[in-house]
């Protein structure tokens, strides 16, 4: 089984200090922060979770932040669910996308990536990492991908779903180019809903956390449409877009709409040669959590089946966040279990087959 969304956190953002260039170390040590000393300097979002983000039972006995201690993560996730690989997605680090100063954002994400590579990945061969980049500086992000993207433990590039504009836009093409060069997918994870980034809700800010959380898939829709329309998958045939925690059930109807409108107005995007849904099937993957819960559980699958989602969906738990998904409670059609829990992620992240792992450990 492969878990595509596991958050490795920290007790304080100051763990990054040794990895930050001195000039930016001062920012983090003495500069203004959205919370107390040690908080990560992202621009504040207007929607605050009224109970905090974390599973209450995932807080270590030491009182440290949930997700910040490897031992508990191993016990509550890797060992409990017999996870072959867990794709670490950081926690606050993607919020660097909200900062107006691209140089500071770039320095913070590089510091995060070094901390990940030196302090998390060596802890357990089951942990794989996501290279977090600051998309507001596409050339800096590309340089970061080229700096660390060939590390064995790095399996994807990661950005927040909150952004200044949709990720297919030519503004971001240097990031796609570098990722393709290193043969890494680009993952877009829910987050970055403040500061520099566009309002994530189409007609303006909503009010309550639960109301907003349910609507945050809107940004995923825009990234999906834009990446296909701008021809990212024509230009870089090995490019892959992974939507993490952006929801799943909306994807079939949006692809149906894109197909229909493209058929009529193909002339706007003459670089495309296939239907949007065909690009999606080959190049787009999405993670399960939080999987929508219809009144009749089986209502979810016919539409997803229509777009070929059996080969696109990848299990994610979101550990240790409040909306954690227990794989044992995930109701999947029987023939979907293997690809969704394991095979699809193994393929997109180029992870070794199961028997090869067994061989290596012999």
């Amino acid at each position: 089984m492969i878990d595509c969304d596991v958050h490795n956190s920290w007790h304080s953002a100051e763990v990054l200090l040794p990895y930050l260039p001195p000039a930016f170390r001062e920012y983090l040590q003495r500069g203004e922060l959205p919370g107390p000393r040690g908080s990560f300097p992202h621009a504040h979002r207007p929607w605050l979770h009224p109970e905090g983000f974390m599973r209450y039972d995932a807080v270590p006995e030491s009182g440290a932040a949930a997700g910040s201690e490897y031992d508990l993560l191993r016990e509550q996730l890797l060992d409990r669910y017999d996870v072959d690989y867990a794709i670490l997605t950081g926690d606050e680090a993607i919020e660097a996308s909200t900062l107006a100063n691209p140089y500071y954002a770039q320095a913070l994400t590089s510091a995060y990536n070094d901390w990940l590579v030196y302090e998390w990945l060596p802890a357990d061969l089951r942990l794989k990492g996501s290279l977090v980049v600051a998309p507001q500086d596409p050339h800096g992000a590309a340089a970061e991908i080229r700096r660390l993207g060939d590390h064995d433990g790095i399996v994807q590039v990661l950005v927040s779903s909150g952004s200044q504009r949709p990720y297919g836009d030519p503004f971001f093409h240097p990031i796609w180019e570098a990722a393709a060069e290193l043969d890494l997918p680009i993952a877009v994870h829910l987050g970055g809903q403040g500061g520099l980034n566009a309002n994530p809700i189409g007609c303006g800010p909503t009010t309550f956390f639960w109301e907003t959380h349910a609507l945050l898939c809107e940004t995923g829709m825009a990234h999906l449409a834009s990446t296909i329309a701008h021809g990212v998958f024509e230009r870089w045939p090995n490019a892959r877009l992974i939507l993490i925690e952006c929801g799943v059930a909306w994807i079939p109807p949006i692809l149906w709409r894109l197909d229909e409108d493209y058929r009529a107005l193909r002339k706007e995007t003459p670089w495309l040669r296939r239907l949007p849904s065909e690009y999606a099937r080959d190049h787009v993957r999405m993670t399960t959590q939080p999987l929508e819960q219809p009144r009749s559980p089986e209502a979810l699958w016919p539409a997803l089946d229509d777009i070929g989602a059996r080969d696109m969906l990848m299990f994610a738990s979101d550990y240790p966040h409040w909306d954690f998904e227990d794989p044992r409670f995930l109701r999947l059609p029987e023939t979907w279990r293997e690809p969704v829990l394991d095979g699809n992620a193994r393929e997109v992240y180029r992870l070794p087959a199961r028997d090869r792992i067994a061989e290596a450990s012999r």
């Binding site: 109970e51 599973r55 209450y56 039972d57 909306d323 954690f324 227990d326």
Partner: protein, 125 residues
């Protein structure tokens, strides 16, 4: 009362507002003292199996003016935060959802949870 009684602790060891997570008959169970009355809930949430009894014991908003009430009567699942009435196991937001409850007996200062007997054994109480 039918079933098998399992000793949890002395009543004096579980004062009002406190809760204890115990393993009885192979099940994880939360035993709560709410204002002097004892209740037991299955520590597996009917929503998605989360650690229901390990979240905050609290109150909740009870009217449209954000009035706060039922303090100490609600447990909030440790995973997804669903609120349950400790006494009845009923989910606050959707009464069609119920957490499993177990009867609690207090005798001679002993708090005991009553679990169903294994099927083949005759009920003797």
């Amino acid at each position: 009362m039918r079933g098998q009684r399992h000793l949890v602790c002395r009543a004096s060891e579980l004062p009002p507002g406190e809760r204890r997570i115990v393993r009885l008959g192979g099940r994880s169970i939360g035993v709560f003292n709410v204002g002097g009355s004892f209740y037991a809930l299955h520590n597996g949430c009917p929503h998605k199996g989360g650690a229901l009894c390990e979240g905050p014991v609290c109150g909740t908003t009870v009217d449209a003016s954000f009035g706060y009430g039922r303090d100490g009567e609600i447990v909030r699942c440790a995973w997804h935060g669903w609120e349950f009435d400790i006494a009845t196991g009923v989910a606050v937001a959707d009464p069609a959802v119920r957490a499993r409850t177990y009867p609690v007996v207090v005798e001679d200062d002993h708090v005991m949870v009553v679990l169903p007997r294994a099927r083949k054994e005759p009920d003797d109480e």
